[in-house]
Amino acid sequence: MSQSFDEISAQLRRRHRKSARLKWMSMGALGLAGLFLVLFFTDMMIKGLPAFQQAQIQVEVDYSEQASQLPLAAVQEDVRPLVSRGYLRLIPGRMEDNAELLGTTRMEWVLADSQVDQYLKGHHTRLSDSEQEVVDRLQAEGRAELRFNTTFFTSGDSKMPELAGIASAAMGTVMTLLVTLAVSFPIGVMTAVYLEEFAPDNRFTQLIEININNLAAIPSILFGLLGLAIFINFFGVPRSSPVVGGLTLALMTLPVIIISTRTALRSVPDSIRHAAFGVGCSRWQVVRDHVLPLALPGIMTGSIIGLAQAMGETAPLIIVGMVAFIPDVAASFSEAATVLPAQIFTWAGEPERAFIEKTSGGILVLLAVLISLNATAVVLRKKFERRW
């Protein structure tokens, strides 16, 4: 029995509706991913931006004889719990350095305790009612306000939230990445040059290729196990140091650099090589003087992306012990240090509410650096990309 035209066109309409549904669903999926990204960044901004502000209060600091023994005595009793203990602790030292201070009384803006900070930001606080009244009074007199938090950028880790900062972690990240770059960039580029320009196509070369692709997909924590067993236990590299962290990350970044360098080398057209060989260049001369310079933007882009990846990596560094409590900037490559992501991890484990803010602030800094690194890579590629 044949169908009528009406039935067929109804069927057709149904089929087209189904087709449209697929389109909307797939659009929705992409939208979902985008929506998550927006939610994520908003959440981080809301949580993290207050970390860049820090409460300060203006109090009368009395540099008396007693204060050099007992720093708590330097401020009056009603504001004593409101001033950061870390600040008070510094008073005797400052009095020793500066003899003129003795016996004077000055009005000074000082770092407030993190509870005051949280109270001024409208969060839950442990301050008692009378202490809250004092803060309210100070605020009404203009003697308590939120200022830009320089401590966050200039000091290292601390158990006191108002004194905790990212300086030591940032420096640790820089040192670790220097080691990573110094090891993985030359080795990666050399490997890629060998595989693309020199290696014969035999079993051995294929083995190396498969191996590199596989390394790129190995879970990062296993590199941490390698770092622990080989670098620390076997070679005796100091634990928690930028050297061991950098070496571990270098092995992880290696595949990224190799793969991107190979792509960059492959995009250099053969006519360049032919021309260079034609005027009598040897293989190395062709690579050094012609292929590598042309592939350099691509290599740089890949290395920056690999470096950005290494910068956000935490798991292998935890395994090699780079989560230590580091209040001061590491002085050398073999001293214990920590990195930004590890600092974020440590702070995330702190129970105090104020540290959630610090953690989010650290995350914002890390994300800002990562995004600018990636943007640099994109700009480099756009600027120097050549279509042959």
Partner: protein, 418 residues
């Protein structure tokens, strides 16, 4: 003398030696050429060759000596070592200068040295794999000497608590013997991975289909980098987000429906991990769908299929090997993911099928075992390597299957750029 000073002295001597070699070689080559002989290479190349022939052996002797001292514990006075490498360097210099002759191919010699170095660099990646394998297998074997392999594979209780007493030689004091049954860990890993895949595969695949088949060019160029941003966010940030933001929301929502959820429930890390993995699936699937030949789409549309039917019945089946390969890579990624689960999932090994309860994973236990205060030789610390071995084997096989699948796809449609 300090190690640093010796190193500085060594480098300084080498530099001087290299400079001498360069200028001597160059001077001799220029002289020979000025005398009218046709040489095989340029003076500069002879100069570089003599640098290589003097500094190369000196460095080799130094490195071998340093390794012997570090690893084998050989007692070589550093000054003797320095002198030895210097002597070898001078001998190399003499040989290099002697070889500056018209019939010597300096360029080819340099070339082969460079080639040797490049191949050496390529070997490092192999060494890395072997390093991972050796370090993990070696320590895992030590673990299995202490604990039975069968109990590890089939046991349902993970309780390493008392193992440090055993390591301290006080085993009898422990209230209960340490147990290393890994099934709860694998169950937890599997549960969180499954949740992640339930999020990542539909969303990633549909996004890929939209970008490849429906989206206008402008949306494509915008959406790709946005998805890449998802992949670029560090996992520690995702972990924080899962623990601080997502987990409380899930507890609230579950409470609304009358379900009792833990703050370390498996859903929060699972969902966030799924979101992290979306770009892996979408970007590879996008490439694969794009490389399905257009003739197949044209044939299907010419037969009167709608666009949706073409995608469902022609394009996706054709791209299936690639999509499966992408999903396998994503699974291997989820299995090995550490920071999200360390921060958002529980620490308590828990054999359950309820995603609202807290459960722990293999990677969490690895981190927990290696960041504690245990001695390295204790069973708990070594158990990390046994777990790492399992993780390595599983992810390796997933990666290999994935590579084979994508290769099959590539051969079927003769695509070279995947």
């Amino acid at each position: 003398m300090q190690t640093n000073q010796i190193l500085a002295l060594f480098c300084g001597t080498l530099l001087v030696l290299g400079l001498i070699a360069y200028f001597l070689g160059r001077a001799k080559a220029s002289r020979v050429r000025a005398a009218g002989a046709a040489m095989h290479a340029q003076p500069d190349q002879y100069a570089w060759f003599s640098v290589l022939s003097s500094a190369g052996p000196a460095i080799a002797v130094g490195v071998v000596g340093a390794f012997a001292m570090l690893l084998l514990g050989a007692e070589i006075p550093t000054l003797y070592l320095l002198a030895a490498s210097l002597v070898v360097g001078c001998a190399g210099l003499a040989m290099g200068i002697a070889l500056v002759r018209p019939d010597f191919h300096a360029r080819k010699a340099i070339e082969s040295v460079i080639r040797f170095f490049l191949a050496g660099a390529a070997l490092i990646s192999i060494f890395t794999t072997f390093g991972i394998l050796i370090s993990i297998v070696g320590e895992a074997i030590r673990f299995f000497q202490m604990q039975s392999f069968w109990d590890f594979i089939t046991g349902t209780t993970w309780n390493p608590g008392a193992s440090f007493l055993a390591a301290a030689g006080r085993a009898e004091e422990g209230a209960s013997a340490a147990q290393f049954g890994s099934i709860p860990l694998f169950a937890g890993t599997f549960m969180i991975t499954a949740i992640a895949m339930l999020v990542a595969i539909p969303v990633g695949l549909l996004s890929a289909i939209y970008m490849a088949e429906f989206a206008p060019q402008r949306v494509r160029t915008l959406a790709k980098p946005v998805l890449e941003v998802l992949a670029g966010i560090p996992t520690v940030v995702y972990g924080f987000f899962a623990a601080i933001t997502v987990a409380p929301i899930i507890v609230d929502v579950a409470g609304f429906f009358g379900i009792d959820a833990s703050f370390n429930n498996a859903l929060a890390p699972g969902i966030v991990m799924g979101i992290m993995i979306i770009p892996f699936i979408s970007s590879l699937s996008d490439d694969v769908i794009n490389s399905v030949p257009d003739s197949m789409r044209q044939g299907s549309l010419a037969l009167g299929m709608t666009k949706g039917e073409t995608i469902r019945d022609v394009v996706v089946p054709a791209a299936l090997p690639g999509i499966i390969s992408a999903s396998l890579l994503a699974v291997s990624r989820a299995l090995g993911e550490t920071m999200i689960v360390v921060m958002a999932a529980g620490m308590r090994p828990n054999l359950t099928a309820n995603p609202f309860e807290d459960m722990t994973t293999v990677t969490v236990r690895i981190v927990a075992a290696l960041t504690g205060d245990q001695e390295f030789a204790s069973a708990e610390t070594l158990s990390a390597f046994a777990l790492g071995l399992v993780l390595f084997v599983v992810t390796l096989s997933l990666n290999l299957v994935s590579v084979i699948m994508i290769r099959r796809f590539r051969e079927k449609y003769r695509i070279n750029n995947l």
